[in-house]
């Protein structure tokens, strides 16, 4: 029996010719990631291990993004602990205020992940890099600590679900709508413990940005990882950002999949997830008026340049509705700069939105846009759990940057054609 893309990468990193679903293996890692929330716990565990140094100072990275620039004294202490640790261990890729961005937007941009890599990160959305044909998955702080010390992690080899994409997305429909549609279809535990493997001729019409957004939300279907078949677009992106050679792993023709779904991209409509689970999806054309108080465009899911360009296209020359606080957060410094050079920031500010320095901020209810009791937000983030963006009685509707921008103008959940 053949292997899936994920199984091939795992086998290669475990030094095995073959692995099977269910097998427990020890995997050699290409990168270990942590952020300002998960790293402090990992550093404490690392110190308990008694290891002198990290396994490879170029293969450990920490990004200060969740509560940075420091939102309060405790957050400042946590960043300081990471900063001191990275200084002491001489860690090459430590990203602090001024250089940082949201980790999952930053790492591909910095070329720290290439196709074929095996990556763990103490952050659930580490699955994002599957867009580049890498095996990458979220773990906890203890795994991060042990990964930093030994360069290894234990895994149970996952089985997989295949998503065969065909056709092309319509205008103002994005990778976000596709992944929300898929999560609505299979549920928040529909891919539990398994890989989601994306392939098919429809792939070629999806930008790398779309793919990063889709792989990012694999965890919202419970998956261990989401991974895209590598094509010319992937290779071009990786070569543009990294000096390392991408390694391409293709699934065997007789690889076994638990299920296969064929998805026609041309049939996907603008989609929104209602509170309080990402699986509560509705297409925008079938919903009643839902008035909103806030819009957030940003996060590791949708804070990339392409997302901001799309939002700007819709907001250009228009005003956001009165009483809709519109917060736009470029995901990295580079994206921020490019958005400035392209005049996007001007469009946002003239439309009545605010633009923030890169941070996770409101995505996890940290700061910079917390919701009061009874308030509703449309957000391009990835989770709409109870209390995620603020008060336990607030509501989050997950959507694409196009729907979010249109909603900001309309003052209620809307799709672009309603305001263009």
């Amino acid at each position: 029996m053949g292997m899936t893309m994920t199984q091939k990468i795992l086998a290669a990193h475990a030094g095995l010719d073959k692995v099977e679903a269910g097998q427990l293996i020890l995997v050699n890692l290409d990168l270990v990631l942590g952020n300002d929330i998960t790293s402090p716990v990992a550093i404490k565990e690392f110190n308990k291990l008694g290891a002198e140094n990290v396994f490879d100072k170029d293969k450990v990275t920490m990004v200060m993004d969740h509560f940075a620039p420091n939102k309060d004294i405790k957050a400042a202490e946590q960043c300081k602990m990471c900063r001191d640790f990275c200084g002491e261990k001489d860690i090459t890729n430590f990203y602090d205020v001024g250089e940082m961005g949201i980790e999952h937007a930053l790492l591909p941009e910095k070329g720290l992940v290439v196709s074929g890599d095996a990556v763990i990160g103490a952050d659930s959305h580490t699955c994002t890099y599957g867009a580049l044909g890498a095996f990458s998955t979220g773990v906890g702080s203890t795994d991060m600590a042990c990964g930093m010390a030994t360069g290894k992690a234990w895994f149970k080899v996952p089985s997989a679900i295949k998503f065969e994409l065909k056709g092309k997305l319509n205008k103002y429909v994005t990778g976000k709508d596709v992944i929300l549609h898929i999560i609505g279809m299979i549920g928040v535990d529909g891919a539990l413990y398994r890989s989601m493997e994306f392939t098919g001729e429809g792939l070629s019409s999806l930008s790398v940005s779309d793919r990063l957004c889709m792989a990012n939300m694999a965890i919202e279907a419970g998956a261990k990882n989401g991974i895209f078949e590598v094509d010319e677009k992937t290779i071009e992106y990786v070569k543009e950002h990294s000096n390392r050679e991408p390694k391409v792993y293709k699934a065997d023709a007789d690889a076994q999949y638990d299920e296969t779904y064929v998805i026609d991209l041309s049939e996907i409509k603008p989609t929104v997830s209602f509170p309080h689970l990402p699986e509560n999806t509705h297409t925008v054309d079938e919903i009643d008026d839902i008035k909103i108080d806030q819009v957030v465009i940003g996060s590791c899911t949708n804070g990339r340049l392409e997302d901001l360009q799309l939002a700007a296209e819709i907001l250009k020359g228009k005003k956001v509705a009165k009483n809709v606080r519109t917060i736009i957060i470029p995901a990295t410094q580079k994206i921020y700069l490019e958005a400035m050079e392209q005049g996007l920031l001007k469009i946002f500010i003239e439309a009545g939105a605010v633009v923030s320095t890169p941070t996770c901020g409101p995505c996890l209810g940290g700061y910079m846009g917390i919701l009061a009791q009874g308030e509703r937000a449309v957000a391009t983030t990835n989770r709409n759990f109870v209390g995620r963006m603020g008060h336990v009685d607030s509501e989050i509707y997950l959507a694409s940057p196009a729907v979010a921008a249109a909603s900001a103008i309309a003052g209620k959940i809307a799709e672009p054609k309603e305001v263009m």
Partner: protein, 164 residues
Amino acid sequence: MVFEGKVIKYGDNVDTDVIIPARYLNTSDKKELASHCMEDLDATFAGRVQNGDIMVAGFNFGCGSSREHAPIAIKESGISLVIAKSFARIFYRNSINIGLAILECPEAVDAIEEGHTVEADLDKGVITDKTTGKQFKTEPFPEFIQSIITNGGLVESIKNGSFK
């Protein structure tokens, strides 16, 4: 390993944002995390949980973020074991790695009610509801994983050489 305790029960998709809300993640102090455990789902939890209590829940327990603060908060609050219909995968591995005992058994979850006294034998995979006398069988964890749990977590296993 055998655990016995009173049951505190929740439903499906208990996510890490309700187990420990992000607004408390500016600390990694275990006691402080435990004092806010389950707050957004059940504000009475921290006040009523007793040492040794067993948490019982539905499908996809611990879904959401990778914050190890979630199983840490549960363990520190005194919960000895979590029995769920299924666990989200990062929560599952985090629990094993920090030495919080967990078991998957949908039938037991359906039958056991809040306040019952439950005994669970991890090695044999047997759960007994002592209030009703009913027994449930579940798959025990592979030896590799049991060894991590009984050694007190992954860090301890690496230190004492039992993790290979």
